[in-house]
């Protein structure tokens, strides 16, 4: 990785330099002030830099060299499913017939786009055991929000207005309670039992006619499958609540078990996790939301329908929660997910989950001697360790993560789930080879040794990165959120 400091793009600016990319004006020109009143016009200049094309290319190339992607190396970031992003999916998503299509073109001129959306809806429904999807949500959290709106709208339609609370496990992703609050629900937390699943007695106690539903990830954030899922579904449904499936961990179950068959009523998927679309450094993602039959009328509108040889948008959906985004969702991302499903097929998808689970269990077995394993049972696609043994030598999970950087790895997710002290969550995904896993395992064992014998190696890490540990407290205390010097 590039260690040399890269100036900010504004610091590279040279007055008078330009790329001059645009043609001369070829129409009869009018005075600007004849078109726009003087007092609407900008007087000051913008801060944009003055650069040549090569300046720009080098600058952003240098920035890229300070980044680490899945193509750079192993990225076992738990709950994020950092699998390989197939190049062919990138390529087909950039076909002119997908990329250069305007969302308001006449329906007869976008039949290919509509067909793709329609079929993706059907495939995702099949994979999850649901009856219909909306591809509109732009991210997992956005899908959660839409799904919870559907739950709320459903209860309201039934005149069931007392249902103002959503139950969320103490192991849940932070977005779960945040999304519930966004939609106006009160959040009630249910604790986990000693095996890492939902505490059934605690759940029973919480159920009442005020409960709108339960949000659950299964396998959960401990990487464990909740064996009581049948019972949980029964308890929630008997009390009139609905079950929401957070699909963040769906990479463990494709072709093996379906949320719809587990009793879930609403599910969101992260196409940027399970369906291999790249994360883009934080986005764009795509978080389709799927539902069981009785909830289909509540899906965001429009949805794509097919009739008489033609695909079309159906806007006439009186019970729909409405729109949650402009147009129809993050279309290019959906194209990549569609391509992924088509290249793997039913068998390929199942093999993905099998290999993902195998890889995670392999790491678990190989490392549990060296790092505390709070739940020693078969895991699914990810495994949660604790750095508490190393804590005794004065090093934390953060230090372990930073030391991994020196060995050229992206560290696992750390300090999550919250119910495990000094947690680190390893999700290898199916696209890693045994050789990669073995190397990683060896490095982790080496780090465990260093923690005991040379803890300063961890405390001073990383040394081998573009910058050393950054002062995050200072950034928050005295926020500098834009460049001002010299502008």
């Amino acid at each position: 990785m590039l260690k040399k400091e890269e100036k900010l793009v504004f610091e590279l600016s040279v007055p008078g330099r330009s790329t001059n990319l645009l043609p001369k004006c070829d129409v009869d020109e009018a005075e600007i002030t004849d078109m726009i009143p003087d007092d609407f016009l900008r007087e000051d200049e913008t801060c944009l830099p003055e650069l040549s094309e090569v300046d720009v290319v080098r600058h952003f190339t240098h920035l890229s060299q300070k980044n680490y992607g899945v193509d750079s190396g192993f990225y076992p970031l738990g709950s994020c499913t950092m699998k390989y992003n197939p190049k062919i999916n990138e390529e087909v998503s950039k076909l002119d017939g997908f990329l250069k299509v305007h969302p308001y073109q006449l329906e007869e001129t976008v039949q290919g786009c509509l067909e793709l959306l329609y079929k993706t809806d059907k495939f995702l429904s099949e994979i999850t055991g649901m009856d219909g999807f909306s591809l509109q949500p732009a991210a997992g959290a956005h899908g959660e929000m839409a799904g919870l709106m559907i739950i709320k709208a459903f209860h309201e339609k039934n005149g069931d207005n007392k249902r103002t609370k959503i139950i969320v496990p103490d192991s849940a992703h932070g977005t779960n309670p945040a999304s519930a609050a966004t939609v106006g629900f009160d959040v009630v937390e249910v604790k986990s039992d000693e095996r890492g699943g939902i505490d059934i007695d605690a759940l029973k106690e919480l159920m009442s006619e005020e409960i709108a539903g339960l949000m659950l990830t299964n396998p959960n954030t401990l990487g464990l499958f909740d064996e009581n899922i049948d019972l949980i579904a029964k308890i929630v449904h008997d009390a009139g609540g609905l079950l929401y499936y957070d699909g963040a961990n769906a990479n463990a179950i494709m072709g093996i078990s379906r949320p719809g068959d587990m009793g879930f009523d609403v599910v969101h998927l992260n196409l940027h996790k399970t369906f291999s679309t790249p994360h883009g450094g934080g986005g764009p993602g795509s978080g389709p939301v799927g539902v069981k039959k009785q909830l289909v009328p509540f899906l965001p509108k429009p949805v794509v329908e097919y009739d008489n040889g033609k695909y079309y948008f159906d806007y006439d959906r009186p019970l729909s929660i409405g729109r949650v985004k402009s147009f129809y969702g993050n279309f290019s991302v959906i194209v990549k997910a569609y391509a992924y499903i088509r290249t793997l097929g039913a068998d390929g998808l199942r093999k993905v989950s099998e290999a993902a689970v195998l890889n995670a269990n392999y790491i678990k077995e190989k490392l549990k001697e060296y790092f505390h394993l709070p739940y020693d049972r078969t895991c699914m696609h990810e495994v949660v360790f604790s750095g508490q043994w190393q804590k005794e030598y004065g090093v934390s999970t953060l230090d372990i993560a930073k030391r991994l950087l020196d060995f050229g790895y992206h560290p696992p997710t750390i300090y999550f789930p919250l119910i495990v002290k000094e947690a680190f969550m390893v999700e290898p995904t199916e696209t890693e080879s045994k050789e990669t896993l073995d190397e990683f395992i060896n490095v982790m064992i080496k780090i465990a040794g260093e923690a005991e014998n040379e803890p300063e190696m961890l405390l001073n890490a990383p040394q081998n990165t573009p910058v050393l540990r950054l002062d995050e407290a200072r950034a928050a205390r005295k926020p500098v959120l834009k460049y001002e010097r010299g502008l």
């Binding site: 900010l8 016009l41 900008r42 913008t46 890229s64 308001y104 945040a178 934080g282 147009f327 950054l470």
Partner: protein, 446 residues
Amino acid sequence: MSYIPTTDEQQQKMLADIGVNSIDELFADIPESVKLKTGLNIPKAMSELELTAHMQEMAGKNINLDKYTCFLGAGAYDHFIPSVVTNLLSRQEFYTAYTPYQPEISQGTLQAIFEYQTMICSLTGMDVSNASLYDGATALAEAASMVCEATRRNEIIAIRSIHPESREVMSTYAKFKGMTLIECGIQDGVTDLQNLKELLNDNTAAVLVQSPNFFGAIENIKEIAEIAHENKSLLVVSCDPVSLAILKAPGDIGADIVVGEGQVLGNPVSFGGPYLGFMAAKKEFTRRMPGRIVGETVDRDGKRGYVLTLQTREQHIRREKATSNICSNQALNALAATIYLSVMGKNGLKKAAELCLQKAHYAYRKLIETNLFSPAFESPFFKEFLLIYHGDADKLNKHLLEKNIIGGFATERFYPEFKGGYLVAVTEKRTRDEIDRLVSEVVSAC
């Protein structure tokens, strides 16, 4: 196809090391009752060659803007995208990375976002920008929640000239968050100031306005700001960032929060997404902002670096008390915007804006001269304008399509009050020849 590198033999070895006999044993925790008994009903796998042919066939069913001349806008625009943007975005270090949780190996993403935030602040005239949101519509909806929290009032006045889909998104958010959304009418294609004054009350958190608005018309932000502020309400402005190269920054004329659709900054129309929503605000709203924010700091050697900051606003720390549930940004689209703004530069963006302005006005004059249209309004406009077509707009567009032209947007679906409403967008990409061809085809269509 398969992206799984472990061989059968290796898998057997791994199973043995784990101490189980088969992969099925690893799934023993899943009760039989919920296990899938048959395979998924998904078509069998395609090879790369088959997939390519299949996708090309599907893409071929769409007409695209490379082969057709586009005068359609209405929220998504066919602007010029420098080849540099596309080229740099394809670097794997950018597009295959996750959210920059480990700043030491994410300085590329973080510094680019810091540069993005600086550019957005400068264009909008604001103190602080976040790292971007899902799109322009959700950015406006998030701003609506923000102002309600900030003012402890729960009524929002949204002008009818805001993009109808943005108003729909806001209405969805408002319904579930307990906010009241009130619509203010329009006069001559812009805010009806009299109506606005009547609607403002003690419970009005903010006025939300778009400029240039859905009709392309430029709103009088300064006057709206004065009216809103007199009522101790805030002003949220949604704007087109390209227009800001020549129009006053909303922050300099009274806006408290500025949002907008960033697609126009180097992102293809892509059948509606992914785009990016930008959001910038005055300093006092910093800690109320949703989404990621990047800040400058130093490392242990005192070297300058960048981190995600002010995270106590966010869901992974605050859970249900977070300012929003958003835990990502449209990083790659924001990167496209940053590269676009860097390569266009100060003068290039201004030139693009001026070309849009000149060409749109040329097209406007020529179309009016045909006597087949009349102006809908007299308000000043930027790159898009509403006309009243005297014939059948759908028929016109079908005729244009046969001539390889994607015509304007027939607005009656959203604004039945303007019968024959026809919204035409003209970006810097359109040439005089193309505009003249549109005009002559419009004439031959009737």
